[in-house]
Protein backbone atom coordinates (compact mmCIF):
# COMPACT_ATOMS: atom_id res chain seq x y z
CA UNK A 1 0.00 0.00 0.00
CA UNK A 2 2.98 2.29 0.68
CA UNK A 3 3.87 2.18 -3.03
CA UNK A 4 0.39 3.38 -3.97
CA UNK A 5 0.54 6.15 -1.34
CA UNK A 6 3.90 7.32 -2.72
CA UNK A 7 2.63 7.13 -6.30
CA UNK A 8 -0.48 9.14 -5.44
CA UNK A 9 1.66 11.81 -3.77
CA UNK A 10 3.92 11.99 -6.82
CA UNK A 11 0.90 12.25 -9.10
CA UNK A 12 -0.54 15.03 -6.95
CA UNK A 13 2.70 16.99 -7.23
CA UNK A 14 2.78 16.40 -10.97
CA UNK A 15 -0.77 17.63 -11.49
CA UNK A 16 0.22 21.18 -10.63
CA UNK A 17 -1.40 20.85 -7.24
CA UNK A 18 1.93 22.08 -5.94
CA UNK A 19 1.45 25.31 -7.88
CA UNK A 20 -1.97 25.71 -6.22
CA UNK A 21 -0.33 25.22 -2.84
CA UNK A 22 2.16 28.01 -3.51
CA UNK A 23 -0.52 30.40 -4.80
CA UNK A 24 -2.63 29.91 -1.65
CA UNK A 25 0.49 30.39 0.50
CA UNK A 26 1.15 33.74 -1.16
CA UNK A 27 -2.52 34.74 -0.86
CA UNK A 28 -2.55 33.95 2.88
CA UNK A 29 0.67 35.86 3.38
CA UNK A 30 -0.82 38.86 1.61
CA UNK A 31 -4.08 38.59 3.57
CA UNK A 32 -2.31 38.61 6.93
CA UNK A 33 -0.66 41.93 6.10
CA UNK A 34 -3.88 43.64 4.99
CA UNK A 35 -4.75 45.01 8.49
CA UNK A 36 -1.29 46.58 8.78
CA UNK A 37 -1.59 48.02 5.28
CA UNK A 38 -4.98 49.52 6.18
CA UNK A 39 -3.61 50.91 9.43
CA UNK A 40 -0.71 52.54 7.64
CA UNK A 41 -2.90 53.85 4.85
CA UNK A 42 -5.92 55.09 6.83
CA UNK A 43 -4.65 55.30 10.40
CA UNK A 44 -6.38 53.64 13.35
CA UNK A 45 -5.57 52.51 16.86
CA UNK A 46 -4.07 49.26 18.13
CA UNK A 47 -7.48 47.84 19.05
CA UNK A 48 -8.73 48.31 15.49
CA UNK A 49 -5.57 46.69 14.18
CA UNK A 50 -6.05 43.75 16.54
CA UNK A 51 -9.65 43.29 15.34
CA UNK A 52 -8.40 43.48 11.73
CA UNK A 53 -5.87 40.73 12.41
CA UNK A 54 -8.59 38.60 14.02
CA UNK A 55 -10.83 38.99 10.99
CA UNK A 56 -7.93 38.17 8.65
CA UNK A 57 -7.25 35.03 10.68
CA UNK A 58 -10.91 33.96 10.56
CA UNK A 59 -11.06 34.60 6.83
CA UNK A 60 -7.71 32.79 6.37
CA UNK A 61 -9.08 29.72 8.16
CA UNK A 62 -12.08 29.79 5.79
CA UNK A 63 -9.70 29.96 2.81
CA UNK A 64 -7.74 26.99 4.13
CA UNK A 65 -10.96 24.99 4.65
CA UNK A 66 -12.22 25.80 1.17
CA UNK A 67 -9.08 25.24 -0.87
CA UNK A 68 -7.94 22.11 0.95
CA UNK A 69 -11.40 20.63 0.27
CA UNK A 70 -11.29 21.69 -3.41
CA UNK A 71 -7.83 20.20 -3.84
CA UNK A 72 -8.95 16.92 -2.24
CA UNK A 73 -12.01 16.78 -4.53
CA UNK A 74 -9.89 17.38 -7.63
CA UNK A 75 -7.40 14.69 -6.68
CA UNK A 76 -9.92 12.09 -5.51
CA UNK A 77 -12.56 12.51 -8.24
CA UNK A 78 -10.20 11.16 -10.90
CA UNK A 79 -8.59 8.47 -8.77
CA UNK A 80 -10.50 5.31 -9.72
CA UNK A 81 -12.82 5.21 -12.76
CA UNK A 82 -10.93 7.94 -14.63
CA UNK A 83 -7.66 6.07 -14.08
CA UNK A 84 -9.27 2.84 -15.25
CA UNK A 85 -10.58 4.56 -18.39
CA UNK A 86 -7.21 6.15 -19.13
CA UNK A 87 -5.45 2.80 -18.66
CA UNK A 88 -3.31 3.77 -15.63
CA UNK A 89 -4.60 0.89 -13.52
CA UNK A 90 -4.36 -1.71 -16.30
CA UNK A 91 -0.89 -2.82 -15.22
CA UNK A 92 -1.35 -2.16 -11.49
CA UNK A 93 -4.55 -4.10 -10.77
CA UNK A 94 -3.07 -7.50 -11.79
CA UNK A 95 -0.33 -7.02 -9.16
CA UNK A 96 -0.64 -9.03 -5.96
CA UNK A 97 -2.49 -6.42 -3.99
CA UNK A 98 -6.07 -6.34 -2.82
CA UNK A 99 -8.36 -3.72 -4.27
CA UNK A 100 -8.84 -2.26 -0.80
CA UNK A 101 -5.09 -1.66 -0.63
CA UNK A 102 -5.23 0.29 -3.87
CA UNK A 103 -8.29 2.23 -2.76
CA UNK A 104 -6.98 3.06 0.71
CA UNK A 105 -3.53 3.80 -0.73
CA UNK A 106 -5.03 6.44 -2.98
CA UNK A 107 -7.16 7.81 -0.16
CA UNK A 108 -4.19 8.01 2.20
CA UNK A 109 -2.01 9.63 -0.46
CA UNK A 110 -4.52 12.42 -1.09
CA UNK A 111 -5.20 12.88 2.62
CA UNK A 112 -1.49 13.16 3.39
CA UNK A 113 -1.12 15.72 0.62
CA UNK A 114 -4.14 17.69 1.86
CA UNK A 115 -2.95 17.52 5.47
CA UNK A 116 0.50 18.76 4.49
CA UNK A 117 -1.05 21.59 2.48
CA UNK A 118 -3.47 22.73 5.17
CA UNK A 119 -0.73 22.55 7.82
CA UNK A 120 1.65 24.52 5.63
CA UNK A 121 -0.99 27.16 4.95
CA UNK A 122 -1.87 27.40 8.65
CA UNK A 123 1.81 27.73 9.51
CA UNK A 124 2.20 30.51 6.95
CA UNK A 125 -0.80 32.39 8.35
CA UNK A 126 0.33 31.91 11.92
CA UNK A 127 3.91 33.01 11.27
CA UNK A 128 2.87 36.04 9.26
CA UNK A 129 0.53 37.32 11.98
CA UNK A 130 2.99 36.37 14.72
CA UNK A 131 5.75 38.48 13.18
CA UNK A 132 3.34 41.41 13.40
CA UNK A 133 3.17 40.85 17.14
CA UNK A 134 -0.28 39.16 17.06
CA UNK A 135 0.19 35.38 17.40
CA UNK A 136 -3.11 33.48 17.25
CA UNK A 137 -2.87 29.98 18.64
CA UNK A 138 -6.58 29.50 17.94
CA UNK A 139 -5.89 28.56 14.32
CA UNK A 140 -3.73 25.65 15.50
CA UNK A 141 -6.49 24.52 17.85
CA UNK A 142 -8.90 24.58 14.89
CA UNK A 143 -6.52 22.79 12.49
CA UNK A 144 -7.56 19.18 13.37
CA UNK A 145 -11.18 20.14 12.51
CA UNK A 146 -10.14 22.14 9.43
CA UNK A 147 -8.38 18.99 8.21
CA UNK A 148 -11.71 17.18 8.31
CA UNK A 149 -12.92 19.29 5.37
CA UNK A 150 -10.57 17.71 2.79
CA UNK A 151 -11.10 14.34 4.45
CA UNK A 152 -14.90 14.65 4.19
CA UNK A 153 -15.04 15.94 0.62
CA UNK A 154 -12.11 13.85 -0.62
CA UNK A 155 -13.71 10.69 0.77
CA UNK A 156 -17.01 11.56 -0.86
CA UNK A 157 -15.34 12.28 -4.22
CA UNK A 158 -13.33 9.05 -4.03
CA UNK A 159 -16.46 7.03 -3.26
CA UNK A 160 -18.19 8.57 -6.29
CA UNK A 161 -15.09 8.02 -8.42
CA UNK A 162 -15.38 4.28 -7.77
CA UNK A 163 -18.18 4.23 -10.36
CA UNK A 164 -18.19 7.67 -12.02
CA UNK A 165 -15.72 9.51 -14.21
CA UNK A 166 -13.74 12.49 -12.89
CA UNK A 167 -16.14 15.19 -14.11
CA UNK A 168 -19.28 13.56 -12.72
CA UNK A 169 -17.65 12.58 -9.43
CA UNK A 170 -16.39 16.11 -8.81
CA UNK A 171 -19.67 17.63 -10.01
CA UNK A 172 -21.78 15.55 -7.59
CA UNK A 173 -19.38 16.21 -4.70
CA UNK A 174 -19.45 19.95 -5.33
CA UNK A 175 -23.25 19.80 -5.67
CA UNK A 176 -23.51 18.02 -2.31
CA UNK A 177 -21.24 20.66 -0.74
CA UNK A 178 -23.21 23.48 -2.34
CA UNK A 179 -26.47 22.01 -1.02
CA UNK A 180 -25.02 21.83 2.49
CA UNK A 181 -23.61 25.37 2.27
CA UNK A 182 -26.79 26.85 0.83
CA UNK A 183 -28.94 25.14 3.48
CA UNK A 184 -26.75 26.28 6.34
CA UNK A 185 -26.10 29.85 5.22
CA UNK A 186 -29.34 30.82 3.46
CA UNK A 187 -32.12 28.39 4.29
CA UNK A 188 -31.31 28.21 8.00
CA UNK A 189 -31.91 31.93 8.77
CA UNK A 190 -35.03 32.01 6.58
CA UNK A 191 -36.37 28.80 8.11
CA UNK A 192 -35.63 30.06 11.64
CA UNK A 193 -36.83 33.63 11.39
CA UNK A 194 -40.03 32.81 9.51
CA UNK A 195 -40.45 29.52 11.34
CA UNK A 196 -41.03 27.47 8.16
CA UNK A 197 -41.13 23.83 9.21
CA UNK A 198 -40.57 22.46 5.72
CA UNK A 199 -37.38 24.52 5.27
CA UNK A 200 -36.23 23.53 8.73
CA UNK A 201 -36.58 19.90 7.70
CA UNK A 202 -34.52 20.52 4.56
CA UNK A 203 -31.79 22.15 6.66
CA UNK A 204 -31.87 19.22 9.06
CA UNK A 205 -31.71 16.76 6.13
CA UNK A 206 -28.82 18.60 4.49
CA UNK A 207 -26.80 18.41 7.68
CA UNK A 208 -27.29 14.67 7.81
CA UNK A 209 -26.55 14.31 4.08
CA UNK A 210 -23.29 16.28 4.20
CA UNK A 211 -22.26 17.28 7.72
CA UNK A 212 -20.60 20.52 6.66
CA UNK A 213 -22.53 22.66 9.12
CA UNK A 214 -21.50 20.26 11.91
CA UNK A 215 -17.88 20.64 10.86
CA UNK A 216 -18.24 24.40 10.64
CA UNK A 217 -19.46 24.51 14.26
CA UNK A 218 -16.53 22.36 15.39
CA UNK A 219 -14.08 24.77 13.74
CA UNK A 220 -15.92 27.86 14.99
CA UNK A 221 -15.83 26.59 18.55
CA UNK A 222 -12.03 26.86 18.35
CA UNK A 223 -11.58 30.12 16.47
CA UNK A 224 -14.66 32.20 17.23
CA UNK A 225 -13.18 33.12 20.61
CA UNK A 226 -11.25 35.81 18.73
CA UNK A 227 -14.39 37.25 17.13
CA UNK A 228 -14.86 40.93 17.97
CA UNK A 229 -17.57 41.42 20.63
CA UNK A 230 -21.06 41.73 19.16
CA UNK A 231 -20.24 39.96 15.90
CA UNK A 232 -22.17 36.83 15.11
CA UNK A 233 -24.43 37.21 18.14
CA UNK A 234 -27.93 35.75 18.00
CA UNK A 235 -30.65 38.29 17.16
CA UNK A 236 -32.38 39.84 20.20
CA UNK A 237 -35.75 38.26 19.36
CA UNK A 238 -37.29 34.83 18.68
CA UNK A 239 -38.21 31.89 20.85
CA UNK A 240 -35.47 29.76 22.46
CA UNK A 241 -36.26 26.98 19.95
CA UNK A 242 -35.90 29.30 16.98
CA UNK A 243 -32.65 30.74 18.34
CA UNK A 244 -31.32 27.27 19.01
CA UNK A 245 -32.10 26.33 15.44
CA UNK A 246 -30.51 29.51 14.11
CA UNK A 247 -27.32 29.24 16.15
CA UNK A 248 -26.87 25.57 17.01
CA UNK A 249 -24.12 24.77 19.43
CA UNK A 250 -21.60 21.92 19.30
CA UNK A 251 -23.15 18.68 20.51
CA UNK A 252 -21.23 15.91 22.22
CA UNK A 253 -21.68 13.48 19.33
CA UNK A 254 -21.03 15.93 16.47
CA UNK A 255 -17.46 14.75 16.02
CA UNK A 256 -18.58 11.14 16.21
CA UNK A 257 -21.19 11.69 13.50
CA UNK A 258 -18.61 13.25 11.17
CA UNK A 259 -16.23 10.34 11.82
CA UNK A 260 -18.97 7.77 11.22
CA UNK A 261 -20.07 9.59 8.05
CA UNK A 262 -16.52 9.59 6.64
CA UNK A 263 -16.04 5.93 7.55
CA UNK A 264 -19.29 4.91 5.87
CA UNK A 265 -18.50 6.93 2.71
CA UNK A 266 -15.08 5.28 2.60
CA UNK A 267 -16.56 1.79 3.03
CA UNK A 268 -19.30 2.32 0.44
CA UNK A 269 -16.73 3.43 -2.17
CA UNK A 270 -14.51 0.52 -1.24
CA UNK A 271 -17.37 -1.95 -1.57
CA UNK A 272 -18.34 -0.62 -5.01
CA UNK A 273 -14.74 -0.75 -6.24
CA UNK A 274 -14.28 -4.22 -4.80
CA UNK A 275 -17.34 -5.65 -6.55
CA UNK A 276 -17.19 -3.85 -9.89
CA UNK A 277 -15.73 -5.19 -13.12
CA UNK A 278 -12.67 -3.32 -14.28
CA UNK A 279 -12.00 -3.17 -17.99
Amino acid sequence: MGVIVALTLKEAMRRRAFLGTVIILIALYGLSFLPRAFKEAFGGNERQFEVGVNLAVLFGVDIIKFFSAVLAILLCAGAITAEIERGYLAAILPRPLHRWELYLGKWLGVMLFSTANATLWTAMLWVSVAVQGEPRMEMWYALPYVLLYPVLYGTLALALSSFLGASLASMFTVAAGAFAYFSDHFLRPIAALFDVKFLQQIVWLSEWTVPMATLKRLVQARVDTILPPGMDDAPPFGSPEVLAFLKPTVQTLDGVYVAVYITIALLVGLLIFWRRDVQ
Binding site: V3, I4, L7, K10, E11, R14, R86, G87, Y88, A90, A91, I92, L93, P94, R95, P96, L97, H98, R275, D277, V278, Q279
Partner: protein
Protein backbone atom coordinates in the same frame (compact mmCIF):
# COMPACT_ATOMS: atom_id res chain seq x y z
CA UNK B 1 -1.86 -28.86 -13.04
CA UNK B 2 -2.69 -26.56 -15.96
CA UNK B 3 -1.15 -23.12 -16.17
CA UNK B 4 -4.61 -21.83 -17.07
CA UNK B 5 -7.84 -23.74 -16.83
CA UNK B 6 -11.40 -22.57 -17.33
CA UNK B 7 -14.48 -24.67 -16.75
CA UNK B 8 -17.75 -23.60 -18.36
CA UNK B 9 -16.69 -20.00 -17.94
CA UNK B 10 -19.42 -17.51 -18.73
CA UNK B 11 -19.65 -13.74 -18.58
CA UNK B 12 -22.77 -11.77 -19.35
CA UNK B 13 -22.68 -7.99 -19.27
CA UNK B 14 -25.99 -6.47 -18.33
CA UNK B 15 -26.40 -2.83 -19.34
CA UNK B 16 -27.11 -0.60 -16.32
CA UNK B 17 -30.19 1.06 -17.79
CA UNK B 18 -31.89 -1.88 -19.48
CA UNK B 19 -31.06 -3.12 -22.95
CA UNK B 20 -30.07 -6.54 -24.17
CA UNK B 21 -27.53 -8.44 -22.08
CA UNK B 22 -24.30 -9.19 -23.94
CA UNK B 23 -22.77 -12.64 -23.57
CA UNK B 24 -19.04 -12.07 -23.98
CA UNK B 25 -17.88 -15.49 -22.82
CA UNK B 26 -20.11 -18.52 -23.18
CA UNK B 27 -19.16 -21.82 -21.53
CA UNK B 28 -15.51 -21.44 -22.33
CA UNK B 29 -13.40 -24.50 -21.58
CA UNK B 30 -9.70 -23.97 -21.95
CA UNK B 31 -6.61 -25.80 -20.77
CA UNK B 32 -3.17 -24.30 -21.16
CA UNK B 33 -0.29 -26.69 -20.41
CA UNK B 34 2.54 -25.26 -18.31
CA UNK B 35 5.75 -24.35 -20.09
CA UNK B 36 4.11 -23.71 -23.46
CA UNK B 37 3.71 -20.64 -25.58
CA UNK B 38 -0.03 -20.57 -26.11
CA UNK B 39 -1.76 -18.51 -28.78
CA UNK B 40 -5.23 -17.24 -27.97
CA UNK B 41 -6.98 -16.32 -31.19
CA UNK B 42 -10.35 -15.13 -32.27
CA UNK B 43 -12.07 -12.46 -34.33
CA UNK B 44 -12.93 -9.08 -32.82
CA UNK B 45 -15.63 -9.43 -30.20
CA UNK B 46 -14.98 -13.14 -29.72
CA UNK B 47 -14.44 -12.70 -25.97
CA UNK B 48 -10.64 -12.83 -25.80
CA UNK B 49 -10.14 -9.65 -23.81
CA UNK B 50 -12.96 -10.49 -21.40
CA UNK B 51 -11.45 -13.94 -20.83
CA UNK B 52 -8.07 -12.36 -20.09
CA UNK B 53 -9.66 -9.82 -17.76
CA UNK B 54 -11.29 -12.70 -15.86
CA UNK B 55 -7.96 -14.54 -15.66
CA UNK B 56 -6.19 -11.53 -14.14
CA UNK B 57 -9.06 -10.90 -11.72
CA UNK B 58 -10.35 -7.62 -13.18
CA UNK B 59 -13.71 -9.02 -14.22
CA UNK B 60 -15.88 -11.37 -12.21
CA UNK B 61 -17.35 -14.33 -14.14
CA UNK B 62 -21.13 -14.74 -14.22
CA UNK B 63 -20.76 -18.53 -14.01
CA UNK B 64 -18.11 -21.21 -14.24
CA UNK B 65 -14.59 -21.29 -12.87
CA UNK B 66 -11.18 -20.04 -13.90
CA UNK B 67 -7.88 -21.15 -12.43
CA UNK B 68 -4.45 -19.65 -12.86
CA UNK B 69 -1.51 -21.85 -11.84
CA UNK B 70 -3.87 -23.88 -9.67
CA UNK B 71 -5.33 -20.88 -7.85
CA UNK B 72 -8.70 -19.26 -8.48
CA UNK B 73 -8.30 -16.43 -10.99
CA UNK B 74 -7.85 -13.12 -9.21
CA UNK B 75 -6.53 -14.64 -5.98
CA UNK B 76 -3.43 -12.96 -4.57
CA UNK B 77 -1.53 -16.29 -4.78
CA UNK B 78 -2.28 -16.43 -8.53
CA UNK B 79 -1.35 -12.78 -9.08
CA UNK B 80 2.03 -13.32 -7.41
CA UNK B 81 3.07 -15.67 -10.20
CA UNK B 82 1.41 -13.78 -13.01
CA UNK B 83 2.80 -11.10 -15.31
CA UNK B 84 0.54 -9.09 -17.58
CA UNK B 85 1.03 -6.71 -20.47
CA UNK B 86 -2.27 -4.96 -21.21
CA UNK B 87 -3.35 -4.07 -24.71
CA UNK B 88 -4.40 -0.56 -23.80
CA UNK B 89 -2.34 1.09 -21.14
CA UNK B 90 -1.08 4.43 -19.98
CA UNK B 91 1.99 4.22 -17.83
CA UNK B 92 2.99 6.83 -15.27
CA UNK B 93 5.10 8.71 -17.77
CA UNK B 94 6.65 11.08 -15.25
CA UNK B 95 8.71 8.14 -13.93
CA UNK B 96 11.99 7.02 -15.47
CA UNK B 97 12.22 3.49 -16.88
CA UNK B 98 14.12 2.40 -13.78
CA UNK B 99 11.71 4.06 -11.32
CA UNK B 100 8.79 2.54 -13.18
CA UNK B 101 10.21 -0.97 -12.94
CA UNK B 102 11.14 -0.42 -9.29
CA UNK B 103 7.57 0.59 -8.55
CA UNK B 104 6.21 -2.53 -10.25
CA UNK B 105 8.79 -4.72 -8.53
CA UNK B 106 7.74 -3.33 -5.17
CA UNK B 107 4.08 -3.84 -6.03
CA UNK B 108 5.04 -7.44 -6.80
CA UNK B 109 6.58 -7.63 -3.28
CA UNK B 110 10.18 -8.06 -4.46
CA UNK B 111 12.99 -7.30 -2.04
CA UNK B 112 15.47 -4.51 -2.78
CA UNK B 113 18.59 -6.44 -3.77
CA UNK B 114 16.78 -8.94 -6.01
CA UNK B 115 14.80 -6.12 -7.57
CA UNK B 116 17.86 -4.05 -8.53
CA UNK B 117 19.49 -7.10 -10.15
CA UNK B 118 16.30 -7.94 -11.97
CA UNK B 119 15.80 -4.35 -13.24
CA UNK B 120 19.24 -4.53 -14.90
CA UNK B 121 18.38 -7.91 -16.43
CA UNK B 122 15.01 -7.01 -17.90
CA UNK B 123 16.12 -3.61 -19.20
CA UNK B 124 18.91 -5.41 -21.03
CA UNK B 125 16.47 -8.02 -22.29
CA UNK B 126 14.03 -5.50 -23.78
CA UNK B 127 16.84 -3.33 -25.16
CA UNK B 128 16.28 -0.31 -22.94
CA UNK B 129 19.34 -0.55 -20.68
CA UNK B 130 20.77 2.67 -22.08
CA UNK B 131 17.50 4.54 -21.56
CA UNK B 132 17.05 3.54 -17.92
CA UNK B 133 17.25 7.14 -16.72
CA UNK B 134 14.91 8.48 -19.41
CA UNK B 135 11.37 9.43 -18.48
CA UNK B 136 8.72 7.20 -20.05
CA UNK B 137 7.09 10.24 -21.63
CA UNK B 138 10.21 10.56 -23.81
CA UNK B 139 9.75 7.02 -25.15
CA UNK B 140 8.34 6.17 -28.57
CA UNK B 141 5.25 3.96 -28.75
CA UNK B 142 7.43 0.93 -29.44
CA UNK B 143 9.70 1.68 -26.49
CA UNK B 144 6.66 2.10 -24.24
CA UNK B 145 5.49 -1.32 -25.38
CA UNK B 146 8.90 -2.74 -24.48
CA UNK B 147 8.94 -1.15 -21.03
CA UNK B 148 5.45 -2.61 -20.62
CA UNK B 149 6.86 -6.01 -21.44
CA UNK B 150 9.64 -5.40 -18.92
CA UNK B 151 7.15 -4.65 -16.13
CA UNK B 152 5.24 -7.81 -17.00
CA UNK B 153 8.30 -10.00 -16.36
CA UNK B 154 10.08 -7.95 -13.68
CA UNK B 155 9.13 -10.38 -10.89
CA UNK B 156 10.08 -13.48 -12.88
CA UNK B 157 6.50 -14.80 -13.09
CA UNK B 158 5.60 -18.37 -14.02
CA UNK B 159 2.85 -17.23 -16.37
CA UNK B 160 3.00 -14.19 -18.62
CA UNK B 161 -0.16 -12.98 -20.33
CA UNK B 162 0.55 -10.73 -23.29
CA UNK B 163 -2.44 -8.94 -24.78
CA UNK B 164 -1.57 -7.79 -28.31
CA UNK B 165 2.11 -7.26 -27.49
CA UNK B 166 3.21 -6.56 -31.05
CA UNK B 167 0.33 -4.38 -32.25
CA UNK B 168 2.28 -1.12 -32.08
CA UNK B 169 5.66 -2.48 -33.05
CA UNK B 170 7.77 -2.32 -36.20
CA UNK B 171 9.43 -5.52 -37.50
CA UNK B 172 12.48 -4.98 -35.27
CA UNK B 173 10.29 -4.48 -32.22
CA UNK B 174 8.32 -7.61 -33.09
CA UNK B 175 11.54 -9.57 -33.30
CA UNK B 176 12.51 -8.29 -29.85
CA UNK B 177 9.17 -9.53 -28.45
CA UNK B 178 9.74 -12.93 -30.10
CA UNK B 179 13.15 -13.06 -28.44
CA UNK B 180 11.62 -12.28 -25.05
CA UNK B 181 8.97 -14.95 -25.58
CA UNK B 182 11.72 -17.42 -26.53
CA UNK B 183 13.70 -16.42 -23.41
CA UNK B 184 10.65 -17.08 -21.26
CA UNK B 185 10.01 -20.41 -22.95
CA UNK B 186 13.61 -21.53 -22.38
CA UNK B 187 13.17 -20.74 -18.70
CA UNK B 188 10.12 -23.00 -18.55
CA UNK B 189 7.57 -20.17 -18.25
CA UNK B 190 4.11 -20.27 -19.77
CA UNK B 191 3.28 -17.50 -22.20
CA UNK B 192 -0.34 -16.80 -23.04
CA UNK B 193 -0.34 -14.71 -26.17
CA UNK B 194 -3.34 -12.88 -27.53
CA UNK B 195 -2.53 -11.46 -30.94
CA UNK B 196 -4.11 -10.66 -34.26
CA UNK B 197 -0.79 -11.05 -36.02
CA UNK B 198 -1.24 -14.70 -36.92
CA UNK B 199 2.17 -15.01 -38.56
CA UNK B 200 3.71 -13.95 -35.22
CA UNK B 201 1.62 -16.50 -33.35
CA UNK B 202 2.58 -19.20 -35.84
CA UNK B 203 6.26 -18.44 -35.36
CA UNK B 204 6.14 -18.31 -31.56
CA UNK B 205 3.43 -20.64 -30.30
CA UNK B 206 3.36 -24.36 -29.51
CA UNK B 207 -0.39 -24.49 -29.03
CA UNK B 208 -3.33 -22.36 -29.99
CA UNK B 209 -6.99 -22.02 -29.16
CA UNK B 210 -9.38 -20.29 -31.52
CA UNK B 211 -12.44 -18.84 -29.89
CA UNK B 212 -15.55 -17.45 -31.47
CA UNK B 213 -18.68 -16.05 -29.83
CA UNK B 214 -17.22 -16.76 -26.43
CA UNK B 215 -16.49 -20.46 -26.99
CA UNK B 216 -13.40 -22.44 -27.89
CA UNK B 217 -13.96 -23.78 -31.39
CA UNK B 218 -10.54 -25.30 -31.95
CA UNK B 219 -7.63 -26.05 -29.66
CA UNK B 220 -4.48 -28.07 -30.01
CA UNK B 221 -0.78 -28.21 -30.81
CA UNK B 222 0.08 -26.14 -33.89
CA UNK B 223 1.83 -29.01 -35.67
CA UNK B 224 -1.25 -31.17 -35.17
CA UNK B 225 -3.70 -28.52 -36.30
CA UNK B 226 -1.65 -27.49 -39.32
CA UNK B 227 -1.31 -30.94 -40.90
CA UNK B 228 0.85 -31.26 -43.97
CA UNK B 229 -2.00 -29.91 -46.10
CA UNK B 230 -1.41 -27.79 -49.21
CA UNK B 231 -3.59 -25.14 -50.75
CA UNK B 232 -3.14 -24.98 -54.55
CA UNK B 233 -4.20 -21.96 -56.59
CA UNK B 234 -4.69 -22.97 -60.21
CA UNK B 235 -5.23 -20.86 -63.32
CA UNK B 236 -6.87 -22.58 -66.30
CA UNK B 237 -7.80 -21.37 -69.80
CA UNK B 238 -11.40 -22.13 -68.83
CA UNK B 239 -12.94 -23.84 -65.78
CA UNK B 240 -15.26 -26.65 -66.86
CA UNK B 241 -17.30 -29.17 -64.82
CA UNK B 242 -15.39 -32.17 -66.17
CA UNK B 243 -12.09 -30.63 -65.06
CA UNK B 244 -13.45 -30.00 -61.57
CA UNK B 245 -14.69 -33.59 -61.49
CA UNK B 246 -11.23 -34.87 -62.48
CA UNK B 247 -9.56 -32.70 -59.84
CA UNK B 248 -11.98 -33.92 -57.14
CA UNK B 249 -10.58 -37.44 -57.48
CA UNK B 250 -7.21 -36.18 -56.17
CA UNK B 251 -8.05 -33.13 -54.04
CA UNK B 252 -10.03 -33.24 -50.81
CA UNK B 253 -11.73 -29.97 -51.69
CA UNK B 254 -12.09 -28.05 -54.98
CA UNK B 255 -13.42 -24.52 -55.04
CA UNK B 256 -13.89 -22.53 -58.28
CA UNK B 257 -13.01 -18.86 -57.80
CA UNK B 258 -14.06 -17.48 -61.20
CA UNK B 259 -14.13 -18.60 -64.86
CA UNK B 260 -10.37 -19.13 -64.98
CA UNK B 261 -9.26 -19.81 -61.40
CA UNK B 262 -9.76 -22.71 -59.00
CA UNK B 263 -8.49 -23.40 -55.47
CA UNK B 264 -7.83 -26.99 -54.47
CA UNK B 265 -6.83 -28.46 -51.13
CA UNK B 266 -4.63 -31.58 -51.12
CA UNK B 267 -3.56 -33.63 -48.14
CA UNK B 268 0.15 -33.43 -48.87
CA UNK B 269 2.57 -31.75 -51.22
CA UNK B 270 3.24 -35.03 -53.08
CA UNK B 271 -0.31 -34.90 -54.38
CA UNK B 272 0.30 -31.71 -56.39
CA UNK B 273 1.82 -33.47 -59.48
CA UNK B 274 -1.11 -35.91 -59.42
CA UNK B 275 -3.49 -32.98 -59.40
CA UNK B 276 -1.74 -31.52 -62.46
CA UNK B 277 -2.03 -34.88 -64.21
CA UNK B 278 -5.75 -35.03 -63.39
CA UNK B 279 -6.29 -31.56 -64.88
CA UNK B 280 -4.46 -32.44 -68.08
CA UNK B 281 -6.21 -35.83 -68.41
CA UNK B 282 -9.59 -34.06 -68.00
CA UNK B 283 -8.71 -31.86 -70.99
CA UNK B 284 -7.90 -28.75 -69.00
CA UNK B 285 -5.41 -26.18 -70.29
CA UNK B 286 -3.22 -25.32 -67.33
CA UNK B 287 -1.85 -21.77 -67.40
CA UNK B 288 -0.43 -21.45 -63.88
CA UNK B 289 -0.22 -23.08 -60.48
CA UNK B 290 0.95 -22.04 -57.03
CA UNK B 291 1.00 -24.33 -54.01
CA UNK B 292 1.60 -23.31 -50.38
CA UNK B 293 1.34 -25.08 -47.04
CA UNK B 294 -1.73 -24.30 -45.02
CA UNK B 295 -0.97 -21.45 -42.63
CA UNK B 296 -2.49 -20.52 -39.31
CA UNK B 297 -4.30 -17.74 -41.13
CA UNK B 298 -5.91 -20.32 -43.46
CA UNK B 299 -6.92 -22.40 -40.46
CA UNK B 300 -8.22 -19.37 -38.59
CA UNK B 301 -10.33 -18.11 -41.48
CA UNK B 302 -11.61 -21.59 -42.24
CA UNK B 303 -12.56 -22.17 -38.60
CA UNK B 304 -14.23 -18.81 -38.03
CA UNK B 305 -16.04 -18.83 -41.39
CA UNK B 306 -17.09 -22.44 -40.80
CA UNK B 307 -18.61 -21.35 -37.48
CA UNK B 308 -20.43 -18.47 -39.15
CA UNK B 309 -22.05 -20.88 -41.62
Amino acid sequence: MWAIETRNLRKVFRPLFGGKPITAVDNLNLQVPPGTVFGFLGPNGAGKTTTIQILIGNVYPTAGEAFVLGHPAGAIAAKRKLGFLPEKFQFHDFLTAEEFLRMHGRLAKMDGATLQKRIDEVLELVGLAERRKSKIREFSKGMQQRIGLAQAIIHDPDLVILDEPTSALDPLGRRRVREVVQYLKERGKTVFLNSHLLSEVERSCDEVAIINRGRVVKQGALDELLVNRSIVSIELKRVEPRILEGMSKVARKVQPVDERRVTAEVDEEDAVPELVRAIVESGGALLGLQAHRETLEDLFIQTVEGEAK
